[in-house]
Symmetry: C2
């Protein structure tokens, strides 16, 4: 049964899409079969794989709103060996209201994807910068959550809102997510970054992943529709995401 | 009648809150009375002014969902002379569905704020990273829109989605917004940034504001609950936002 990891933070621009895109490639380099699910109407992950969201017929939005559409109808092969994707498009904007009246609306994604669980080692969900029902669907369908956080001022408030959401999920839906915090865009020259890292280490001991430092190669790579581990394999961020992939593929005992 | 400017981009982390917070202070330094409206459930703008969103009684969310709540009931004085704020809190998450069935749901904010128009020179709206009904409300209540854009790969797709939204607003609601693009976090050492700036200049000739370059003082200032123009008045970003404030206060003929 696959590891299911949702990448979530309602704070925008912290590196959610970058993390899913790069981690998927790094996991496939370790021989894992990966499914990436793009749940953001901006469809940045979908564009990173080289697809044009405006030209796609069926996407993740149809999975939510059309009973007869199955997961295997929306899966695309990507240019990365061993990585498949469920694309997003602008139709996702309307999903929030469309699923409002549906029964078991938090379980739609989980129910649709269950049929595929035996085909993949890892399923990664790229979430939009909000805590909408679509994001809750990804959390319910996952067992682990990776929260990319910039070591900057607004991040601390975002974490407290997020941990409230996780607590609610546990209380109301008896769904317990294993939490990982991934510091991103870390600039060790900035005193503030070190102070925030130390504060996080204290509050979330043992849940902090090795940080991803600031690296302009991560900005260039999506333009080439290539992950940084392929476009700039010796770059600092390629090595850091490679190490993250190795850590996440260890079994629970080994960690 | 005040200049009403909404700061919008569904792409996250591009500098929307930073722009509203800093521009408000720079405008007040020019003797303008400014009202800032925080429409993001993350409430980063509200925290930047030093308020704790979780301790507030009435916020922007109540303005949307409670008929009897008026704008003057939610306005707070900030620590910046001449700047008032309508704060946000987590209740904004629920507003999207709550206003779904309401009549004239796109005009709620405009109708509530009209009574205050004669008290301010400028009203600035900080929007969440999405194109929800709350963001549409801010667009309808504004005459101008400033779109902060990072000179990075995902920004180009965000602009095309945004211009589609502006076109829809004009066609369906006969509401014409004056568009300004504000390049943010610009790092002139990166070739990519210069290429993107050139491409934008060509497509949006005359609508591009002088860029705001990358400046770590902008990261530090919100922690002090002070805008960069007050905390680091000689920094590069303080001068750039000061110039932006002067440009926006020129009358239409002078520009
Ligand atoms: N470690 C890093 N160093 C430098 N730039 C980075 C790093 N990680 C991400 N970026 C850049 O930061 C920007 C934001 O990243 P990304 O789009 O992945 O964030 P996001 O959280 O998915 O944003 P959104 O909230 O809009 O979905 C991108 O342009 C990306 O290239
Ligand atoms: N010119 C700049 N140089 C360096 N850092 C900047 C600059 N402008 C903004 N920042 C930093 O980038 C981060 C994102 O900015 P900000 O929170 O204002 O973006 P936003 O668009 O409001 O994000 P969201 O989509 O989550 O609402 C902040 O930590 C801010 O300090
Ligand atoms: Mg993203
Ligand atoms: Mg913001």
């Amino acid at each position: 049964i696959p590891r299911r990891i949702c990448v979530v933070n309602q704070k925008g621009g912290v590196g959610k899409t970058t993390t899913v895109f790069t981690l998927a490639a790094a996991l496939s380099d370790l021989g894992r079969r990966v499914l990436c699910v793009d749940l953001d109407a901006q469809a940045n992950l979908t564009s990173s794989f080289g697809f044009d969201p405006d030209l796609l017929d069926l996407t993740a939005a149809d999975l939510f709103t059309r009973e007869e559409v199955e997961a295997s109808d929306v899966i695309l092969e990507t240019g990365i060996e061993g990585v498949h994707a469920i694309p997003a498009d602008i139709k996702l904007v309307a999903v929030e209201t469309r699923i409002h009246e549906m029964m078991m609306r938090e379980y739609i994604l989980q129910t649709k994807l269950e049929a595929l669980f035996d085909r993949y080692h890892v399923i990664l969900f790229d979430c939009p910068p909000n805590l909408s029902r679509v994001t809750i669907n990804a959390m319910v369908a996952s067992l682990e959550v990776v929260v990319p956080i910039e070591t900057q001022s607004y991040s601390i408030k975002a974490i407290s809102d997020l941990t409230n959401t996780f607590a609610l999920l546990k209380e109301k839906m008896h769904h317990d997510l294993k939490l990982w915090l991934l510091p991103t865009k870390v600039d060790r020259r900035m005193r503030l970054a070190i102070d925030i890292l130390d504060a996080l280490e204290e509050t979330f001991r043992g849940r902090i992943l090795d940080p991803i430092q600031v690296d302009s190669n991560l900005v260039r790579a999506p333009l080439l529709c290539e992950p940084v581990t392929h476009a700039y394999p010796t770059s600092r961020s390629a090595l850091e995401y490679g190490r993250l992939a190795r850590f996440l593929t260890l079994s629970d005992e080994e960690r």
